[in-house]
């Protein structure tokens, strides 16, 4: 945890020599505590204090970066237990497991690697692959096959250090995650990870065991560690994950690492989906799935986006007048708000219908139609202002706008704000827009 100014002051030379540009060591310490200056500003800090201060300013959950070929996946650097306290930063990486005994590796990986889904205008993909040495004799070959089909970072799974060592040797210049170390093999695993410059996942049956192992492995010089606490049921995993995050936030360094979960071990696809969702909401850095199905991947990616959205900043789009499907002057003008989810639900519908239209996106402080309406940010005045500001009149020959069905009550006031304009009330949900546009516009 961060040190206070006074605590830092005690570690400074206390000579008030002013070389740092501050009148006293205490003043410098205060600035350091507030993270407004760098420790290097003082030339006289002892090596011992430097180490202590660096340790204290390290993030509570260590940042781990896995590297593929030009594609990185990060986990860690988290600072809170509940997203409303600040935000969650590094989204849980979603990995798909491949077994070395499989015969259809190329096709399987290619399919998952190509997977792309768009949500609120953002493209999401799978983050990487986990290759498991269920048949060690085919491990290197399997990794090569996976690597030929994807550039994404890899997780390599085996309990045998020699097997993992051979596997990692196939991936020069990358940072895979080796999975992993246990009480039984940790020394050899630490060596393998060190030689391969890989990150190392550690599993243990209890937090005591995990903490013990991270300290021992760190002493061997491997610092990029990941915790695999296991947990057999949803309840058990939830508790372990929460305890680890809590301890990390209390600056318990031995557990200050991102977590890896394997919902694929759950046995059934239904349980896998539940455990994966829990892992995303509750602190997992890496999630290894056995079942790649587009419908589950989409749901998990959206869940992850929701949970990792900064609660202080709703995702917004820029207000303006947007053309969809090459509109002509007689094409309809549809009014909506600049909340991303709202904008994209409407834009996607219209685009998908093939019908030409203009979308007038009103600045509603990034809120949904009803939220903005209830908050007074999407009223007749704002809509009329947008109609004028974005030059709607010059682009259409109809003097007509369509408002969302949920705010039908605005039509009267809008007629007053926009004399001479026809105000049409559209359907309540965007799904029904294409039919409405065909029939009624």
């Amino acid at each position: 945890m961060a040190l206070s100014g006074i605590q830092i002051y005690k570690m400074l030379p206390q000579t008030n020599c002013k070389e740092c540009g501050f009148p006293t060591c205490l003043a410098f310490a205060m600035k350091l505590a507030a993270k407004q200056v760098e420790l290097s500003g003082c030339p006289y800090v002892s090596a011992e204090s430097k180490a202590k201060l660096a340790e204290s300013s390290a993030p509570p959950v260590r940042l781990i970066t896995l590297k593929g070929i030009g594609i990185d996946v990060k986990a860690g650097n988290e600072v809170c237990l509940y997203r409303h306290e600040k935000t969650f930063y590094n989204k849980s990486g979603l990995f798909v497991r491949i077994k070395s005994s499989q015969t259809d590796i190329a096709a399987q990986v290619a399919r998952a690697d190509a997977y792309k889904v768009t949500y609120v205008g953002i493209d999401f993909t799978v983050d990487g692959f986990a290759v498991e040495a269920d048949d060690p004799s085919k491990f290197a070959e399997a990794i090569k096959a996976v690597r030929a089909a994807t550039k994404r970072p890899l997780i390599l799974i085996s309990s045998d250090p020699a097997v993992l060592s051979a596997g990692a040797a196939v991936l020069p210049g990358e940072t895979p995650l080796l999975c992993g170390a246990t009480s039984a093999n940790w020394e050899a695993m630490a060596e393998v990870a060190k030689t391969a410059k890989a990150a190392l996942a550690i599993s243990g049956d209890s937090l005591d065991e995990l903490a013990d192992l991270t300290e021992k492995i760190k002493a061997k010089g491997v610092e990029d560690l990941v915790l695999a606490p296991g947990g057999k049921t949803m309840g058990g995993s939830l508790i372990l994950a929460t305890q680890i995050r809590r301890l990390a936030l209390k600056n318990f360094r031995a557990l200050g690492y991102p977590m890896l979960t394997m919902p694929g071990n759950a046995g059934s696809p239904e349980r896998e989906s539940l455990l994966a969702a829990q892992a995303i909401t509750k602190y997992a850095g890496f999630v290894v799935l056995d079942k790649f199905s587009p419908e589950l991947m989409y749901a998990l990616l959206v869940l992850r986006e929701n949970i990792y959205t900064d609660p202080q900043k709703p995702i917004q789009v820029t207000p303006g007048l947007f053309d969809i499907n090459n509109p002509k002057p007689e094409s309809p003008v549809l009014v909506t708000t600049n909340f991303s989810i709202t904008y994209f639900s409407v834009a996607n519908e219209v685009e998908g219908s093939g019908l030409p239209a203009r979308l007038l996106v009103v600045d509603a402080d990034g809120m949904s139609v009803l939220t903005a309406w209830a908050a007074g940010k999407f009223d007749a005045e704002r809509i009329a202002k947008a109609v004028k500001a974005f030059g709607v009149e010059a682009k259409t020959n109809k003097k007509q706008i369509v408002i969302p069905g949920h705010v039908a009550v605005l039509s009267g006031e809008l007629e007053e704000e926009l004399p001479g304009w026809e105000i049409r009330v559209g359907p309540r949900e965007a799904v029904d827009l294409p039919a409405f546009m065909k029939k009624a516009l």
Binding site: Y82, G235, F252, E295, Y298
Partner: protein, 314 residues
Amino acid sequence: MPVEIPKDKWTGKVRTVTLGATAAEGGTRTKSIVVGGDTTMPFMQFEAPTAHTPVIAIEIKSRKPDDWSSLLEETWGSVMSDPAAWAKAAEAAGADMIVLWLSLEDTADDAMRAVKSVLAATGLPLAVYGPGQVDKDNELLVAVSESANGEKLLLGICEDKNYRTIAATSMANGHLITARTAMDVNLAKQLNILISDMGLPLDRVIMDPTTGALGYGMEYGYSVMERLRLAALQGDAMTQLPMMVTPGFETWKTKESKVGVGVPEAWGDWKERAIHWETLTATALLESGASIVVLRHPESLKRVRTAITELMTA
């Protein structure tokens, strides 16, 4: 290395609320349900056992809905035009509780008849919700409340504009109410204060902080629920009510669940996707503090039940 596991020490506790009255308690339910009583964040059983298992309710309608997904019509079939048969089917599917929504077209007589038939068809505790228009809600719910006196129904939905009549009739006839506010800790507190000022004891109130579907604002509800539970545990009496949310209602109106054709291929299988949408929304909300989740699809019920069972057996 022995790790000392930090335990949160809270002073507050969520109230326990009992839904449904058995014969011994002056009603006709074969069992009642107790929710709430939590003294920790959800399922932190290493601090204290979770007092009461969260509950799954199934939503049914007094008249066959015309805007429900065909996936729901396929699974429920003909019972959808008969609330009593629907309630029975929901019980058979494993529901702990039924939420009956009345329709705008219902008269007070229709509403009373529907409630009576559902009460006769199942022994499960019952919630009865009005169609959502203040005058109509008041008219129907008062009639229902009086005719089912003593059943400990859960009546709703009370919002700031219409809580008075519903709270009053509930008080007079031994029922409970659902207090709904729009995803805001302070609004929730305010409404609970207003209700408690009317004299309705808060152990007869369930709060619904409102949620959104996965992808459509769920994260706001998720965080508001976490904040409400934290406030309750910190001792804020006006937030110490069990929470009920409606992931079924929310998710089945999203395009992901409603529509099977003309959607991106990356969305995958329609039915599985719809079930994931409902199930993942519901489980996330259980883990952020819901005591009652209201669902629509029996397959989702099955999966959410698995989740609850596992969460309870830490």
